[in-house]
Amino acid sequence: MNAADWLVLLGTIVGIAAYGSWRTRQVRSLNTYMRGNAATRWGTIGVSVMATQASAITFLSIPGQGFESGIGFVQNYFGLPLALIIVCAVFLPMYRRLSVYTAYEFLGRRFDQKTRLLGAGLFLLQRGLAAGVTIYAPAIIISTVLGWPLTPVIVFTGLLVIVYTVTGGSEAVAVTQKWQMAVISAGMVTAMVVLLLRLPDGLGFIGAAHVAGALGKLQAVDFSLDPSRRYTVWTGVFGGLFLSLSYFGTDQSQVQRYIGGASLREGRLGLMFNAVLKIPMQFVILLLGALLFVFYQFAPHPVFFNQAEWRRYAQDVRFRDIEAQHASAAAQSQSAIRAWLQARASDDAAREASARAAMIAADDRARAVRADAKAALAAADPRAKTKDSDYVFVTFILTQLPHGAVGLVIAVMFAAALSSKASELAALGTTTTIDFWRHFRPLAAADEARNVRVARHFTAMWGVFAVAFALFAGFAENLIEAINILGSIFYGVLLGLFVVAFFLRRVGGSAVFFAAVTAQALVIGMYFSLNIGYLWYNLIGCATCIGFSLALQMVLPPQAPAGQSRAG
């Protein structure tokens, strides 16, 4: 990175944060601090929902996913539009009618205070621990590739987001997310254009797509019912629906993005904006990864993209052998692809089939060498990081993009990290203030200035906690997966609480509370005693919470009429 890159990077990231702080420096109203400007229109809400979901890992890992496994991962988003329709039709109208600040306030109104505290507690536990990862994960990749020390990157990112989120709350989050999404869009379009321009002469997008398709990278849709397949239309629609409903309907970091706004219409249109655009957006990011795969068939590339990790261990002759094998396999693969392109142009079907088989065999050999490289790393040190797909896109950025554009695309990663982190901090601060602090100090609820002050303190406290956790997380292995597991363990029961609240009117607070506690204990017990994919715990937690609620309600007295319980 040169001076132009630094100028673009710091100018955009610090500039947006400073603008957000300045624009919202006079926020005094609790409603504005927690729900944003009451005049917010659907475009801002839609962008804010999108920016909250799109973390830095989206732009680092998803192109790597496309590079490594193709674009089939897009099916994971197939449940999202359906979930957003349900949120629009059922969840959002109820949240707005009750005029709640948090989703968990609704549980208090519908059931009782203990159920509300349980829901809010599950959210704080899961999202609070995940908060450190959203800073740590991109920081470790960027600092590794650029050779920057990790601690200053984490501290700088954390302080930046703390300053503007604490200053303007939800309003600052929405204001900055608009500009951060603009930076993200500009950076990703720039990267795609440069990638297409860097493809070999005569290949172009169509030729590159044919190569990617022939090598199995464009298997976008799989209708197979085979349960061993990781990504299919069915897992995407059903699993994705379930996960998206949990995330958009019950996670305060998302709920806070759409419950404010000028009217119910604006919130609904903001969500529908995401329902329409999310799958095409993820498709384009994955396609970028598949095209990167084609690009690197014709361009020199390392056998292992995390070069810092490779150089740390690759000292002996065995690693030199692997590098030599990789160079040979890459050359053979490139020749085989060129031969296939010529055969394809010849209209000779037999020649094309033969060349295609040779090309696939060459690709298999190249893959085998990469697998050997990872195995060698693991053999050299079992703690070595053997996953390098997250480093593919950032390697392309640093080696292929012109100066200025490098700074812009690195800014994409920081903008995405800040936008998702800001939503998390605002949600954690709001939930702690509204569902816990005000619950235990009900008389303080009337003092608006004190409420805003306390919310600022809690937001800052969660920010400091996230930074401290991110710094500590450097010692942990497989942290991201651990956080995903933690989320799956708690998300299911949380969704179960809301499903019962919305759809099972005859179930009361005590039944659902004890059902949720039992279901949560069961899920935790199963996690420690069974060996099943952790995503299943979302379904198990939700289903058992619903089932236990119905069973308990049969033996417990009917619930008290709604409105008897105290609302915050």
Partner: protein
Amino acid sequence: MTPAPRAEESPEGEAPGVPGFRTWRGVYVFVFGWFVLVVLLLSVFMEIFS
């Protein structure tokens, strides 16, 4: 401290205010149709380049 409920917002009575749509149900059907179309387009894309 929590603002009063917004009794005036009737979820089904409010028109979406989107040209071509008179009800929210129509908007939801459109979004679902768009989703089906996207899946079909992805299938066609896959067939063309496989």
